[in-house]
Symmetry: C2
Subunit: 282 residues, 2 copies
């Protein structure tokens, strides 16, 4: 099977994809749009893209493309703790590090460590943490360091000199597996955190309490929501759609009645699937 993922090589998304699909052919894509295109055109079977809090992708694009391509559904969600490591070439003189490279958000997330230990060292933005690691590996004559993940250290032969330098222990990124086939993704060896459904709901017009009415459909059924996000439609400034996650297993009568009730409210509903949430390693 061919699996597209948001690259470059050794990106956080590849770290997630390698755990979700250890035996498949993984194809890096330049951006989130290319991941959706690859699935849409049938060049790949599935793709893995960030859904929440990613360092190297504007995740609102994932919601927008899910909205624009109704034939693409969600097969699984995966949560990965973000771990940043400081790495150098094995020949580097650590006391002489002259520059630290990384993606601006990774530098921001490691702010306190870098400020405490490398206050005087120049920090330099790169387009991704992986590209920063690659750059360090290719410039051995200078004493450079990168903030990147374990995968990048392995791929580019760098030595980790400080592990877990991120400011918050509980920083997670969420990814989704997308495809056109609505197959249920299953992986025996990964930890399952739970089960949920994903829905995209467009309200007929922008009226007070419309969202409240929509949420009533779930509230009186005691269906819990774990995520809700409004996104502006491209048609104008005042129109919205909502991405909602409903917690729990698919129960045909309960869930189908809820979908029917949403349609009775004139809401346009794209049911993205009922799928499992997996916990990955950082």
């Amino acid at each position: 099977m061919k699996i597209a993922f948001l690259g470059p090589q050794a990106s956080f998304t590849q770290l997630a994809t390698a755990q979700l699909f250890p035996d498949e052919e993984l194809l890096p894509q330049a951006n989130i749009l290319d991941c959706f295109h690859a699935v849409e055109n049938g060049e790949v079977d599935k793709a893995v893209v960030p859904l929440e809090n990613s360092i190297e992708g504007t995740v609102s694009m994932t919601l927008d493309y899910l909205y624009k391509t109704p034939e693409i559904k969600i097969e699984a969600e995966a949560v990965m703790p973000i771990a940043h490591h400081l790495m150098v070439h094995p020949d580097c003189k650590i006391e002489d590090i002259e520059k630290i490279y990384s993606h601006p958000q990774a530098l921001a997330q490691s702010f306190h460590f870098l400020d405490d230990h490398f206050k005087e060292v120049t920090k330099q933005d790169f387009s991704s943490t992986a590209a920063a690691a690659k750059h360090v590996s290719e410039n051995v004559d200078r004493n450079l360091a990168a903030v990147a993940n374990q995968f990048a250290a392995n791929l580019y032969g760098l030595k980790i000199i400080h592990r877990n330098i991120q400011d918050f222990e509980q920083n997670h990124t969420r990814f989704i597996v997308i495809s056109k086939k609505k197959q249920a993704y299953h992986h025996e060896k990964l930890n399952i955190l739970g089960e949920k459904s994903g829905l995209l709901i467009t309200l007929p017009e922008d009226h007070a309490g419309g969202l409240h009415q929509v949420l009533s459909v779930f509230a009186w059924r005691k269906m819990n929501l774990s995520k809700i996000e409004s996104r502006t439609l491209k048609t104008g400034l005042g129109n919205y759609f909502f991405f909602i996650n409903v917690v729990g297993k698919w129960e045909p009568v309960l869930h189908e009645n809820a979908l029917e009730e949403l349609k009775a409210l004139d809401a346009d509903v794209d049911f993205l699937g009922n799928y499992k949430e997996y916990l990955l390693e950082s």
Copy 2:
């Protein structure tokens, strides 16, 4: 006055900041965290950061830092249409362009144009659209192009050869002006789109219908919501806070009663301010 903004020079945020604060000293910051720090430490009076759909900042970080720094409030919101232009050095031979540089999301947003007109030309990721423009201006001997904004073209002396190459006309980025002082921002010459309030609401526990209860507070008062977004708390996987925009002017009795009712539900409420929404030029 000193105003921090998410850099680098000629970023989309600078384009917004220059319109919001035409006569002030503007200080570029490497990332969103640094913008918050500069305000928190009193190094600047205000900062401008992206709130929604930004190309060059992971906007979920803005919500997280608003949550983490309750002393920082919102003074204004500004909406800017995103316009991407293809630009080259004036000496460039357009028919021989060998590489096109930009931020991966800007390349993605210009996909159809670039695919139609420059299918065979290599696209190369850069950490920002502005850095891509700078790179093109510094390598005159090669035939390079960048996808960036008008400001970058002016700053780096590049010639725009195709205007508005983005795929969707209605692509906007939203910015907010943040400060510790809760002053009302006012600009006479900019178009005002409306007025709104920003709230961060944390629910006491993750129970079914909790969000529905919170939204009831607004619904029965016919207060319209224009944005809602749930964010995971850093304390664990199952806890959330919500960012909500309530449309309209501040009406003391109505709004204060709503805030009281939210507190009666044991919700923790951070009122970020009532502020105007401005329309900027691209």
